[in-house]
C-alpha cells in the first residue's frame, strides 16, 4: 500500500532497528571512511546511480525532449492506428527510432517525453515534501522533547491524532474538495501535513534522552539560552537519525504522489506524472502492455532505489555511530 510513512520508517519507529550487524569488521567513524564503506557497497552505488539518472533526467527534460524530437503534449496521429481504436503502430507500443519508448494509444503522445517530464513532477513533489516534513518533524520533535510538560503533551496529542487518521482517504478527500489550481504545491502540503509525526516522534524520544546528558547540563550552567542548546548542542547529535529517517521517507512520498495522481486527485492533466500515466494505461493494459510497463518500471525502480539506499545508510549509521 502506498502510504505516507514508508514501511521501513514505521519499522524504525516500532523499534525493530536492533539488528545492527555487530560483526561488521571496523565501524567507520570518520566521514571519509563512511564514504568508502558506501562506495564498496555495489548495490548502494547502483541505487544512487539510478536516482542520479532520474534527477538528471528531470533537470534536463527540455533538452532531452529536443533531442528526441517530441514534446510531452504533442499529439502524433500518424503513430497510432485509428482503425484499431488508436492502438500504436509497430512493435511494443510503437517503439522505434522516432518514438524511443513508443507512444500513448489514442492520441500518440510520446511516452519518452512524458516519462522525462513526469520525473520532474515526481522528484519535485517528493523532495519538497521531504524537506517540509523534515523541518516540521525536527522542529516539533525538538520542542516537544526539550520542553516536555504541557508543550510535549499538546504536540504528542496532535501527533497521535494525525497518525490515527486514515491518511490516504483523507488526503484524497481534501484534495478532491479543494480547488484544482496549483495542485503540486497542495500535494506537498497535504503529504507533509500527515507525514511529519513519524519523524517528530523519533526526534522527540532522542531529544528527551540527550537532554539529560552532561554537555547539555554544562551548556545550561554556562548560561546558554534554550534556542542555543536546542540548535547548537542537541540538533548536531541528531543528524544521523535525521538523515536516515529522511532517506527512508522519500520513497513513501514518491509512492504517495504517484498513488494520488493514479486516483485522479494528484497532478492534473495534461501535466504528466508517472502515477497518472499508469492510471490512463489501465484500459489498455491487455492490448498495449508497454504503456504501463514504462512508467511502472521507472516508478518501481525509483521507489526501490530509495528504499534500498535508505536501508543501507541506516545500517552504516548504526554500525558506525552506535550510541556515541
Amino acid at each position: 500500500m502506498t502510504f505516507t510513512p514508508t514501511p521501513l520508517e514505521a519499522e524504525g519507529a516500532a523499534g525493530g532497528e536492533a539488528t545492527g550487524d555487530p560483526a561488521s569488521a571496523s565501524p567507520p567513524r570518520s566521514g571519509r571512511r563512511l564514504v568508502r564503506t558506501f562506495l564498496n557497497d555495489r548495490v548502494a552505488v547502483a541505487c544512487s546511480a539510478y536516482i542520479l539518472i532520474v534527477v538528471l533526467m528531470a533537470l534536463t527534460a527540455p533538452l532531452l525532449v529536443t533531442l528526441s524530437g517530441h514534446g510531452p503534449l504533442e499529439f502524433d496521429q500518424a503513430a497510432v492506428d485509428s482503425n484499431l481504436g488508436g492502438l500504436p503502430l509497430g512493435w511494443g507500443g510503437g517503439i522505434g527510432a522516432d518514438h524511443w519508448f513508443g507512444v500513448e494509444p489514442g492520441n500518440g503522445r510520446d511516452i519518452f517525453a512524458r516519462i522525462v517530464y513526469g520525473a520532474r513532477v515526481s522528484m519535485t513533489i517528493a523532495l519538497l515534501a521531504t524537506a517540509l516534513t523534515s523541518v516540521l518533524g525536527v522542529v516539533f520533535g525538538l520542542i516537544a522533547g526539550y520542553f516536555g510538560g504541557r508543550v510535549d503533551m499538546v504536540v504528542s496529542r496532535v501527533m497521535e491524532f494525525l497518525m490515527a487518521f486514515p491518511a490516504l482517504i483523507f488526503m484524497i478527500a481534501v484534495l478532491s474538495a479543494l480547488p484544482a489550481e496549483n495542485r503540486q504545491a497542495l500535494l506537498v502540503v497535504v503529504i507533509s501535513f500527515f507525514g511529519w509525526p513519524y519523524l517528530a516522534r523519533i526526534v522527540r524520544g532522542q531529544t528527551m534522552s540527550l537532554k539529560q546528558r552532561e554537555f547539555v547540563e554544562s551548556a545550561k550552567a554556562s548560561g546558554a539560552s534554550s534556542a542555543q542548546i536546542i540548535f547548537k548542542e542537541i540538533l548536531p547529535n541528531l543528524s544521523s537519525t535525521i538523515i536516515v529517517m529522511t532517506t527512508l521517507a522519500v520513497p513513501g512520498y514518491v509512492g504517495t504522489e504517484a498513488g494520488l495522481s493514479f486516483l485522479g486527485v494528484g497532478v492534473v492533466p495534461p501535466t504528466p506524472s508517472w502515477g497518472q500515466m499508469i492510471a490512463s494505461s489501465v484500459p489498455w493494459y491487455a492490448v498495449d502492455p508497454a504503456y504501463f510497463l514504462f512508467p511502472g518500471a521507472f516508478l518501481f525502480l525509483l521507489v526501490l532505489s530509495f528504499t534500498v539506499l535508505g536501508d543501507r545508510i541506516k545500517k552504516i549509521a548504526e554500525s558506525g555511530e552506535g550510541r556515541a
Binding site: 514501511p7 516500532a14 536492533a18 486514515p166 482517504i169
Partner: protein
C-alpha cells in the same frame, strides 16, 4: 483497568469528534456550494434557495454541524411538512448523485471490502511471519539474504503496478486465471476464490514484506536476551525455548501493527478495489471523488477513521492482555 479503559474511550471520542469536525469543515465550507451542484445547469436562484433550506445549508455553521452530528446518533429529518424525509440513526446524509442514503450505500459495499481485507490479512500474516522466522533462523545465510532482498522489492512495488502486471501475465498472457468478475460465494465457490486471489496477493505483498522484516528483527533481538540464554542454559529443549521464551515476546509487536493495518484496510482498499473493479467501500470512495459526491466521500472517511480508532483501541487492550509489562505503566 477501568480508569485506563475510560481514558481510552474518552480519547477515542475526542479523536472521532475532531475527525468529524475536520471533514465537515472541508466539505461544507471550503468546497463549492453543494446546492448549486445538486441543482445542475439551467437552475434559477429560487430553486437553489429551496435546496439550501431543505439541506439546512442556510443555517449558521455550528447549527449545521450539530444537526449532522445528532443525525449520526439519533437520525434527522430533511425538509418540512409533506415532503419531509426521515433519515434513520447513523444518518450520513444522501448522495448528491443517486439520492440514496449514504449509510445504505456503504453497508451494501462493506461485505466485499471485508472479504478483500480478511483474505489479504490471512495471506500476509502467514507469509510475513513464516518468512520472517526462516530469515531469523538462517540469519546471514543465503535464505536470509534472499528473503531480505525480496522484502525490499515487495515494499517498493506500487500495488497498482503489481495489479496491472499480474493481470497482464496471469490473465492475458498465460490465461491461468479468469478475468476478475463478481461472482457470489454461494454460486460458485471455486470461481469466487479465483476472483479474489489477485486482489489478495496485490494487497498483501507490501504488508507481508514489512511483517517479514519486523518478525526477523524481533526474533533475532529476543534470541539475544538474557532470559533466553538462561532458558537454554538450564537445559530446556530448543523447541520449548523457541515457543515459550522467544516467540511470544517477538510476536507481540506484530499484534499491534496488525490490528491497525487490518482496521485501515476494512475502510476500503481504495487502489486495489479500483484497479480490479471490486465493488467495495474503497471503489465507492474513488467513484464518488470523480463525481464530486461529497456526502459519500465524507461517509467513507468517517467510517475509515472510526475503524482505525476502534482498531487502535482493541490493540491497546489486547496488548495489556498479552504483555504484562504494559499493565504496570499504563496509568497515563
Amino acid at each position: 483497568m477501568i480508569r485506563f479503559l475510560a481514558n481510552r474511550l474518552l480519547g477515542m471520542a475526542v479523536v472521532l469528534f475532531l475527525v468529524c469536525l475536520f471533514t465537515y469543515v472541508i466539505f461544507f465550507v471550503l468546497s463549492p456550494d453543494p446546492a448549486v451542484q445538486i441543482c445542475g445547469k439551467n437552475c434559477d436562484p429560487e430553486a437553489i434557495d429551496r435546496i439550501r433550506a431543505n439541506l439546512g445549508l442556510d443555517q449558521p455553521f455550528w447549527t449545521q454541524f450539530w444537526t449532522f452530528l445528532s443525525g449520526l446518533f439519533a437520525g434527522r429529518t430533511y425538509g418540512t411538512g409533506a415532503n419531509a424525509i426521515e433519515c434513520a440513526a447513523p444518518c450520513l446524509g444522501y448522495s448528491f448523485q443517486t439520492s440514496q442514503p449514504v449509510t445504505d450505500m456503504i453497508l451494501q459495499r462493506l461485505p466485499v471490502s471485508a472479504t478483500v481485507a480478511v483474505g489479504a490479512a490471512v495471506l500476509w500474516l502467514l507469509a510475513g511471519v513464516s518468512a520472517g522466522l526462516v530469515s531469523a533462523v538462517k540469519e546471514g545465510k543465503f535464505a536470509d539474504r534472499f528473503i531480505t532482498g525480496l522484502t525490499l522489492t515487495g515494499m517498493s512495488v506500487p500495488n497498482y503496478v503489481l495489479a496491472l502486471l499480474l493481470q497482464f501475465l496471469l490473465v492475458v498472457t498465460l490465461g491461468w486465471l479468469p478475468f476478475p468478475q463478481a461472482v457470489p460465494f454461494g454460486e460458485d465457490p471455486g470461481r469466487w476464490f479465483l476472483n479474489f486471489l489477485m486482489p489478495w496477493i496485490v494487497l498483501s505483498i507490501g504488508a507481508a514484506a514489512v511483517y517479514t522484516r519486523l518478525t526477523r528483527a524481533n526474533v533475532i533481538e529476543t534470541l539475544q536476551e538474557n532470559y533466553v540464554r538462561t532458558a537454554r542454559a538450564k537445559g530446556l529443549s530448543p523447541g520449548l525455548v523457541w515457543r515459550r521464551h522467544a516467540l511470544r515476546p517477538a510476536l507481540t509487536p506484530i499484534v499491534t501493527i496488525f490490528g491497525m493495518d487490518f482496521a485501515g484496510l476494512l475502510g476500503g482498499a481504495l487502489i486495489t478495489e479500483t484497479v480490479f473493479g471490486l465493488n467495495g467501500v474503497g471503489k465507492l470512495a474513488s467513484d464518488s471523488i470523480t463525481k464530486n459526491d461529497q456526502p459519500v466521500i465524507m461517509g467513507v472517511t468517517l467510517l475509515a477513521a472510526f475503524l482505525v480508532v476502534v482498531g487502535n483501541m482493541v490493540v491497546d487492550l489486547l496488548y495489556t492482555a498479552i504483555d504484562p509489562r504494559v499493565r504496570v505503566g499504563s496509568a497515563t
